[in-house]
């Protein structure tokens, strides 16, 4: 700015900011400037522009900006949308940035020209403005990075196209660069454009403005909302909104269509650094616009704010993310994600346990001449699928299961080949995202290995997320194909899940139409025109699968695994548990279920409703075991709970079959000793393992029942092992995995030096060849989880004991901060769960951080309802129980509990039905203990 020497240049003047100010805007940040128009519509006129600018602040602090962020709003917001970026510009990055947020003409507090300005005009306008401001030769050494929203996206990129030397990077929030001819435009806009609505909705009334503001996903500060509306209080002031809406280039006939195409092409042609901050819950700028942006900027850094929508800049702290990205992209700050990948790769290669890469499909390929059994599906004997839904509990408990479908290795290999052919014929290639919505069994196995063979990316989001969670997850992953069973296809049609729909199976064309499916995998005829060329094996470091977290710790996150990492998961299982060729395994737990063919083991899927793990009965499990003489069982804790409850229903043969089980694995959520003991009675010769891990690294550590018992003995405070106790013992790392803890500071942040020192509590971090590659489309989340190079931050808290066993104490986000220090929940919970009548316990904190008090919420064993016996009421626990809980918790942990509440059932995640939703429970406890009416948690 100091170099401005052209005497003709206009100077900025103070803006129209009112005396009481706009919340979040420094007084001197509001400025106006006159600029001569070169736009075709009013060339030569002098126009007055309003803009927000941290230039005065930089001058005051004596700072020279390293570059300029030019913020361009859309319709019908104004520069106010960018106030937090403007306020953060001087002091957030390694070096200061100038931030200029402009009000477009006819918008905000800029001049009302009364003219219909086209896209072309507006691009010129913006150039006129930057010239007047002197940005063209004083933007700073890093030039201009554009930051835009809504239709500001196209305008800013049009400006960039005309200022190629100045434009050095682009940051998009929800916007569109291109609208393809013939594509349906989003419903919300269609309505605004309708002649009957257009004038009324955009100019005469504030409807369009109000609808846009109503897209805010959080709650508005009323003053902020008022400020957003303030420049648009009269119909004349709103004319710009109307004209803007009219300028949306909906089809080729539109005057701005050609300009749009040129701009969109220009974005694709340069390779400027690009950051996309996206709110997926946007009814206007939907996923397809994001996909288009990514297609034009393949190297873009993308973070989706899962809970945000159209007004992402208003709903989320985009400043922190944005300036961190600028630091990394322009100012030499280490690329944290890249640094992590480099260290991880180095560690992997240096590991003494490193194995050669053996693709997942290798075993299957090698056994294509083997006629022994590879996969077996169990199902109800006799009738088909139909009588499943009508099952009474009694009938389902005693129902006979039989083999419904089985494939030898040879048949499986053939089916996989055929399915791969079909998928390729439909257009699936290496890197294509294919969402599989098929229950575990031979069909799913076939599809998975076909995708692995092609190199297509398998997207797996299980029904445990619920329809809302699934929709969110699938929109995020935006798979090109959805292969599913009829129910899934119907749900996809209703919920608008993305992807071309293909039936997993075969059906009449009328049924296919009804399901909105193009074809059925098994009936599809591969077009003869396409020669069956051999395909190339996928690259080991390309993404093979995206698995979704359970969503019990916030919105479900997509976790990307490469082919190498999936193979490493197989190796970890194989080498930790000695499983492999010739073994028979019951695949009752989804992530491991896909490993059977890779391990060379025969796998059987028991007769159950896989969407509800609770429906696995003892009988069904035993019949599956018997069908292939299985020696290994994978099952979820919820399924095992039901198996133990229904064990009486097994007949002698079935009981005998269970005697042959040598190993049982249950993962996904912590499993209690009584449950393991129940399983021990059913399969007395089995080692009962309960590995610990997360979707990002499964498994991470392993422990079995004998070891748990030993650990409990070692937890004796007098005569035990240093560090043992105060949590759940999850054993030692599995093959290839490493674990450390990062000690916590006083505020509960994990900031210490990673350590194995016994008794030191900290965040658990993991490194393993089978750990995740990255979070899908969640750059900021990935960056946070990878901030210790080579390691994944799990968000769990725990400590080691002197023998190297890991003890988990809860989640970092479940820490309780009391006056006497930080408290982790699990130790108190374990103690409370020893009281008879308590099924599960959760320790939560109420009150302000630093002065919280611990509250124990117990889930009571429901006594059989008898006449006169009082039902368990949600609310304060009876005095006798409260006294017992208080006393065991204090003697086990030294913690004094403020209150003991009871519930009939804890709120849990749907997938495992076992991860207690502590934040929700804490909010409930807070409300109950405030004296409010007692509601259900």
């Amino acid at each position: 700015m100091a170099t401005a020497n052209r005497t003709t240049r206009p100077t900025p003047r103070p803006g129209p900011i009112p005396l009481k100010r706009w919340p979040g805007v420094a007084r001197d940040a509001s400025r106006v400037i006159d600029a001569e128009s070169t736009a075709p519509v009013d060339s030569g006129s002098l126009r007055t522009w309003h803009f927000l600018d941290n230039g005065p602040e930089l001058e005051r602090q004596g700072l020279d900006p390293v570059g300029t962020i030019l913020c361009v709003h859309g319709n019908p917001t104004w520069s106010y949308l960018w106030r937090n970026v403007v306020a953060a510009g001087a002091n957030s990055g390694i070096q200061p940035w100038r931030v200029v947020a402009v009000d477009q003409l006819d918008m905000g507090y800029s001049e009302r020209t009364g003219l219909e300005r086209s896209l072309e005009d507006r691009v010129r306008d913006l150039g006129d403005f930057t010239r007047a401001l002197g940005l063209d030769d004083a933007a700073g050494p890093e030039g201009v990075v554009t930051l835009s929203h809504d239709w500001g996206g196209l305008i800013s990129q049009g400006w960039g196209m005309k200022h190629p030397d100045l434009h050095r990077g682009r940051i998009f929030t929800n916007t569109a660069l291109h609208h393809a001819q013939g594509e349906e435009i989003p419903g919300a806009l269609r309505l605004a454009l309708h002649p009957a609505v257009h004038g009324k909705g955009t100019r005469s009334t504030t409807a369009f403005l109000d609808v846009t503001l109503s897209l805010h996903k959080g709650t508005w500060d009323p003053e902020v909302r008022k400020t957003f509306r303030s420049p648009y209080t009269s119909p004349a002031a709103r004319e710009g909104i109307q004209n803007f809406v009219a300028d949306i280039p909906v089809d080729e006939g539109h005057r701005s269509y050609a300009a749009m195409q040129r701009i969109a092409q220009a974005v694709a042609d340069d390779d400027l650094p690009c950051l996309v901050l996206w709110g997926p819950g946007d009814p206007v700028f939907k996923q397809r616009y994001l996909d288009d942006i990514l297609a034009r900027n393949p190297e873009a850094t993308l973070h989706r704010f899962d809970k945000a929508g159209h007004l992402v800049a208003e709903e989320e702290d985009i400043s922190t993310v944005l300036f961190t990205w600028l630091d990394e992209a322009y100012l030499g700050a280490p690329d944290v994600v890249e640094r992590h990948r480099v260290v991880r790769e180095k560690d992997r290669k240096a590991s003494p346990l490193a194995l050669d890469y053996r693709p997942m499909v290798s075993e299957l390929e090698e056994r294509r001449d083997d006629d022994s059994l590879a996969v077996v599906d169990m199902g109800p004997a006799g009738r088909g699928l139909k009588d499943r839904s009508g099952d009474s509990e009694r009938r389902s408990r005693t129902r006979q299961a039989t083999i419904r479908r089985q494939l030898s290795w040879r048949e499986l290999a053939e089916q996989v080949d055929r399915t791969a052919e079909v998928l390729r014929d439909l257009g699936v290639q290496a890197g294509t995202r294919v969402n599989l919505m098929v229950p575990p069994g031979s069909r799913l196995t076939t599809l998975i290995y076909a995708c692995l063979k092609i190199g297509a990316v398998i997207v797996v989001a299980d029904t445990g997320l619920g329809i809302k969670g699934l929709t969110r997850a699938l929109r995020g992953a935006s798979p090109e194909f959805l292969v599913g069973i009829p129910q899934a296809l119907l749900a996809a049609k209703t919920a608008g899940w993305p992807g071309r729909r293909v039936l997993a199976g075969t059906a009449h064309s009328s049924t296919l139409r009804l399901l909105g499916a193009e074809t059925g995998i098994e009936s599809h005829e591969v077009s003869a025109a396409q020669p069956t060329t051999p395909w190339n094996a996928p690259q080991p470091d390309n993404v093979a699968a995206i698995l979704y977290t359970s969503g019990s710790t916030g919105p479900a996150k997509g976790v990307a695994y490469t082919h190498r990492q999936l193979s490493s998961m197989r190796d970890a299982i194989q080498n930790t548990y000695g499983l492999g060729e010739g073994a028979g395994l019951v695949a009752g737990f989804a992530p491991f279920a896909l490993l059977g063919p890779a391990l060379g083991a025969t796998s059987v899927t028991p007769d159950m409703d896989v969407t509800q793990p609770k429906t696995l009965t003892a009988k069904a499990l035993a019949q599956a075991v018997r069908a292939i003489s299985a020696t290994v069982v994978f099952a979820s804790p919820a399924a095992l709970m039901n198996v133990v409850e229904t064990r009486e229903d097994m007949n002698e043969d079935e009981q005998a079959a269970m005697q042959g089980v040598e190993r049982l694995l249950s993962a996904g959520a912590p499993i209690t000793v009584p449950l393991l003991e129940g399983m021990e009675e059913i399969c007395p010769h089995a080692k009962l393992h309960t590995p610990y891990g997360m979707t990002e690294c499964l498994p991470l550590t392993d422990v079995n029942l004998d070891q748990i018992r030993e650990a409990e003995r070692d937890a004796d405070p007098q005569d035990g092992v240093e560090g043992a106790g105060a949590g759940v013992c999850v054993g030692t790392p599995v093959y290839g995995a490493r674990v450390q803890v990062v000690p916590l500071d006083d505020t509960g942040a994990a900031t210490g030096e990673p350590t194995h020192t016994p008794g030191i509590t900290g965040e658990i971090i993991a490194a393993a060849p089978h750990a995740k590659d990255h979070y899908d489309r969640l750059w900021w989340t990935e960056r946070t989880s990878a901030s210790i190079p080579g390691w994944h931050r799990t968000g769990d808290v725990g400590h080691f004991d002197a023998t190297g066993r890991l003890w988990v104490e809860g989640r970092l986000s479940h820490l309780i901060s009391t006056e006497s220090g930080l408290l982790t929940p699990v130790a108190g919970e374990t103690a409370a769960e020893k009281i008879s009548g308590v099924r599960r316990a959760a320790v939560v904190g109420v009150g302000p951080w630093g002065a919280q008090v611990p509250v124990v919420v117990v889930e009571r064993e429901s006594a059989p309802a008898r006449n006169g016996s009082r039902a368990i009421k949600d609310g304060p626990a009876p005095q006798a129980l409260a006294r017992a809980v208080r006393s065991v918790v204090e003697s086990a942990t030294g913690v004094r509990v403020a209150a003991i509440l009871q519930v009939r059932e804890h709120p849990t995640d749907i997938r495992h039905n076992s991860k207690i939703d502590r934040p929700r429970l804490a909010a409930w406890a807070d409300s109950v203990l405030s004296g409010g009416k007692v509601r259900k948690p």
Partner: protein, 374 residues
């Protein structure tokens, strides 16, 4: 426990805590005037001061029997008494004559009665005492206030030491105490150090205000739990409150001008507190639950009836009480603990055990030495 005759409070004489002469510290040769020394907290404060070496001049209308009967011969040498009213300037100036300090606990504590009576005792009385202290050249003054001066009856959790707010305080008692606290702080100066201590819900053996009222009414089945009695509230065992007052008094140089809320730092649900008190006395704890909205309504009706009814008895339920019993109020004690360099010594469980020994001594327990004050 079957329904029997209503419980009656035992005669306190013979059950009092004893301050053994052997535990007295050396005399400090300074005289502290304690107002309201006949009450539960006032008597404990007086005894703490005596033990710490002060001469205590108890100043109130009724005989400070609880103090006197707890003392042994050497202790009695440090005990003086002036009977009188704090609203009477003459009584006050006589009581303050030659004294070095004042700890002011006397107050009209009630949930009914006309506003003027509260102003008279709680505001005017405080002003007369402060004026008297200033005239006498007294340098130290501790005002015992109440946490209710700073909140408006809505629920709060982990609140810090907020300033008094008479405009929003609920009920005559809280409002008048809020004015009194502001007044006291106005007098705070280098010549007259004024400290403010706000103990929350004080209880202990022989407490007629809370404990015995709860027990007695529960024995008649007269106490319902509002909204299941789940509101989490702070309370203060009397010895902890007295110790905190003493700490404040001794640290006035650092803590003057700063109101400090005192509690046990162990919030409990209303239901559990009441249940524990009843169990200590051996009566059936409250069982009925009533929605708080109903109780508040009933309370406001009762208040209106009682307003027209002459007589000294307390109404069974008032709006203020309904709010107190159905909304959470507990405090962030970090600042208090830091400024006083103090933490409560007697836990709620230990406090309940001394209630039990007071109301239901086992034959092996010598009633004469129920809980020596050491």
């Amino acid at each position: 426990m079957s329904k029997t005759a209503a419980w009656t409070a035992p005669d306190p004489s013979g059950r009092r805590a004893i301050l053994p002469d052997s535990s007295l510290e050396n005399s400090k040769d300074r005289t502290v005037v304690v107002t309201g020394a006949s009450g539960l907290l006032g008597s404990r404060v007086a005894l703490k001061l005596i033990r710490a070496g002060y001469t205590v001049r108890c100043f109130q209308r009724r005989d400070a029997v609880a103090v006197r009967e707890s003392l042994q011969p050497k202790g009695l040498e440090r005990f003086e008494q002036h009977r009188g009213s704090i609203t009477h300037p003459d009584h006050v100036s006589r009581a303050l004559d030659g004294a070095d300090a004042v700890v002011h606990l006397a107050a009209k504590v009630s949930v009914t009665g006309p506003w003027e009576e509260y102003v008279e005792t709680n505001v005017t009385g405080t002003r007369i005492l402060l004026e008297g202290a200033r005239a006498e050249g007294i340098g130290r003054f501790v005002q015992v206030s109440s946490p209710s001066v700073s909140h408006a009856g809505s629920a709060f959790m982990g609140q810090g030491n907020q300033p008094a707010d008479p405009d929003n305080a609920r009920g005559n008692y809280a409002r008048s105490k809020a004015y009194a606290e502001r007044l006291a702080l106005d007098y705070d100066s280098q010549d007259l150090l004024v400290g403010v201590v706000r103990p929350h819900l004080v209880w202990g053996p022989g407490d007629t205000q809370l404990v015995e009222r709860v027990i007695e009414r529960a024995s008649r089945g007269g106490i319902p739990l509002l909204d299941a009695g789940a509101a989490l509230i702070d309370s203060t065992y009397v010895d902890n409150a007295a110790e905190a007052v003493l700490r404040d008094f001794e640290r006035l140089e650092t803590v003057h001008g700063k109101p400090l809320v005192i509690s046990n730092g162990e919030p409990r649900t209303v239901g559990e507190l009441m249940t524990m008190m009843c169990e200590a006395a051996g009566v059936q704890p409250p069982q009925r639950t009533v929605p708080a909205s109903v109780a508040k309504l009933a309370g406001s009706v009762v208040e209106k009836i009682w307003a027209r009814r002459p007589g000294a008895d307390e109404p069974p339920m008032t709006r203020f009480l309904a709010e107190q019993l159905s909304t959470s109020h507990w405090f962030d004690q970090r600042e208090t603990h830091e400024l006083l360099d103090w933490k409560p010594e007697v836990s709620i469980d230990e406090g309940m055990e001394s209630l039990r020994r007071y109301y239901r001594p086992r034959s092996s327990e010598n009633t004469a030495s129920l809980r020596p004050l050491v």
